[in-house]
Amino acid sequence: MNKVGTLEVNNLNKRFGSLGQDVKVLDDVNLTVKPGEFISIVGQSGCGKTTFLRLVVGLESDYEGDILLDGKKLNGPDLKRGVVFQDHRLLPWLTIEKNVGMGLKNSSDREARKSVLEHIELVGLKGYEKHYPHQLSGGMSQRAAIARALVNRPKILMLDEPLGALDALTRMYMHQELERIWKKEGITMIMVTHDVDEAIFLSDRVVIMSSRPGTIRKIIPVPLARPRDRAGTDFLRIKEEVLKEFHLHTETPFSYAI
Amino acid sequence: MVIAEKIKGFIAGNYRGFITFLSLFILWSGVTHYQLLSPESLPAPQVVTATFKEVFSSGLLGKSLGMSLSRIARGFLIGCSLGFLVGAAMGVSRSAERLLAPLINAVRQVPIIGWIPLIIVWCGIADMSKITFIAIGAFFPMVVNTFDGIRSVPHGYLEVARVFEYGRLRLLRSIVVPGALPAIVSGIRLSLGASWMLVVWSEINTRSDFGIGDMLWSARESSKMDLVIVCIVVIGAVAFSINELLGQIESRLQGWKRSCR
């Protein structure tokens, strides 16, 4: 499925002000994301990457610069841009089926129901339609949240540290799942994370953001074939390159990585 | 200056509330001025203020209030301390809980007011009945809150004490009491608030020996609605003070609790 979905961010500046004290959170951010790309934004806590994501989704406004989707300026949230939050934010009083169907206008007609069930199956939760969120594990809940975000076929999907609340083992499993879903849907994905391995494993390009004020420091392409080998030489080389930006690299060229 | 900023902020945040009060006051004055209701039904603000000054300076207000407060003092002290002891016993000892909880929960079901006729039969209509009534009303919130407070001390802390081989007394002193303190203070606040309300109810039902409730009801019976309003305002003001004072203490104590989230 060939979807149009180019995101252009030009000269984005964002300030938060209170009592006359202005904090510049984002400083001249420029980024273009091509349709179908998987981009990760990596940075330390507080560098503004979540603010950036919220601006693109439309949850925050009041910025300087442009954010354009297919050339059109944004006006608040809309269904063309989906988001998966770090805390899955499934409504506890709705079943998984009802939660996933939230994005649809009329979730009771047959077409809609079919789509919901398809997406539940896509994320590997077949059989859990009538369950409630509290009956699911963290990983499963997050998968349901992904299904919910995808069900109305957005052009781009933003993921705000989607795997942050999961344990390390579940996270690795979810990396594979995310990749599979991305390949199948062919959707543009922009993921914010502080996990470098995750970023390199999943992305076509890794965007490195520095903090205070938040700005794009470097964009590192990841031209490796998929699925990627976390212990492979190329993988580790790119990881070194990323870590160097954070002054976290080691002197020895190879390190044992899980 | 920072103070000016704060005042500005306060006004900006609260001006709508002022508008509501002001409108109500204007409405009140207007209705009484143009006699839309008879002066017996709704006295004018000036009359109420005059009555208040009169009752205050003549010492009648002070005397009535004093009587009521002295009744509360006695009833509340008895009920609250008993409630604390029973609640603490139940909280600390499981067998005490098993023994007492069903009975206390059963007796708790009686709405406090329902006790009045029985207490009047048993204790007459003098001070004793009012104090007993208040004591019962103060007892139950205190029992429940003390018990809850002690039981809600996180097990994790108790385990730490075990690991460090704390003796029973030290455990109570350093962990259980501080842990339960916010709930206990909350219980005191509810207890005292209930006592205030109950002293008024009991004075209305056993009309003897003055008291603010007695004053209120006498005023009503002689249709002196201005005096009624004065009494209501006084009753409300005392209730508010109790809540504010104890609420402040409570939030001070909650301070540490919040920071350990």
Partner: protein, 257 residues
């Protein structure tokens, strides 16, 4: 499990049984005058008598009717008020200072004016109960609505919910536990106020029965009244508790909020 439950039951019954026996013995040995403390048997007989001649049923009907009417009126108004303040910040800013002030006055304070304006008949009692119910219901409704986490509201924004759908799908279900707590508090307050009102100004109802019995020193009737009031209050609360369970089944397994 069964042995544990049996043990608990035994423990629970010890003190009541001891008290019951002491009570019976005290009255038999005439340690206390029968006027002050009637023997248990007399209590039981009075109760049967009141059942038989319909006195209990008639008066309870009257009281319950007042409670139900007052509760429904108060809960309805309270819910609307709390919801209005919760949903529209402007309304809250205008009304909550006044509301908080009025709240400070214990409900007793309303008696004189209500009696003056509405007499001492049914209307006054129903309104009195309604006012008492209104306060906890609106407070809890407001609390519930304001307590809806911003994260859920953002989900509604992201999916472009209109305000009606947001209310229906996110705000009300999330606020419901608090609202139901408010209803339970309101009901127990209502039940207490009906008794209170009947003690002070009434010609029928369970409170009135107790007042008349008190004046005649019929302690047995008064005690029966106390027990009936307690049991009724308990049953009504249990009923609401069951309703709460049905509405909020999803919450129980989730743990308390």
């Amino acid at each position: 499990m069964k042995l544990e439950q049996l043990k608990n039951l035994t423990f629970a019954l010890i003190i009541p049984l001891v008290l019951l026996i002491a009570w019976d013995v005290a009255t038999r040995l005439e340690l206390v005058s029968a006027q002050l403390l009637p023997p248990p048997r007399m209590l039981f007989e009075s109760w049967l008598e009141m059942q038989r001649n319909g006195e209990l049923r008639d008066n309870m009907e009257v009281s319950l009717l007042r409670v139900v009417l007052g509760f429904l009126l108060g809960a309805g108004v309270g819910f609307l008020l709390g919801a209005a303040m919760g949903v529209w910040r402007e309304v809250e800013l205008y009304l909550s200072p006044l509301f908080n002030c009025v709240r400070q006055v214990p409900i007793v304070g309303w008696l004189p004016f209500l009696i003056l304006w509405l007499g001492i008949d049914e209307l006054f009692k129903v309104v009195f109960i309604a006012v008492g119910t209104l306060i906890p219901v609106s407070v809890k409704t407001l609390e519930g609505i304001k307590g809806v986490p911003a994260s859920y509201l953002e989900v509604a924004r992201v999916f472009r919910f209109g305000w009606a759908r947001t209310l229906r799908t996110v705000i009300i279900p999330c606020a419901l536990p608090s609202i139901v707590t408010g209803l339970r508090l309101g009901l127990s307050e209502a039940w207490m106020l009906v008794v209170g009102a009947e003690l002070v100004a009434a010609s029928a109802g369970i409170g009135n029965v107790m007042t008349i019995a008190r004046r005649l020193f019929q302690t047995d009737v008064v005690l029966v009244g106390v027990i009936v009031i307690a049991v009724t209050g308990y049953l009504m609360d249990r009923l609401l508790g069951l309703l709460e369970l049905r509405l909020l089944g999803w919450r129980r397994a989730n743990g308390a909020h």
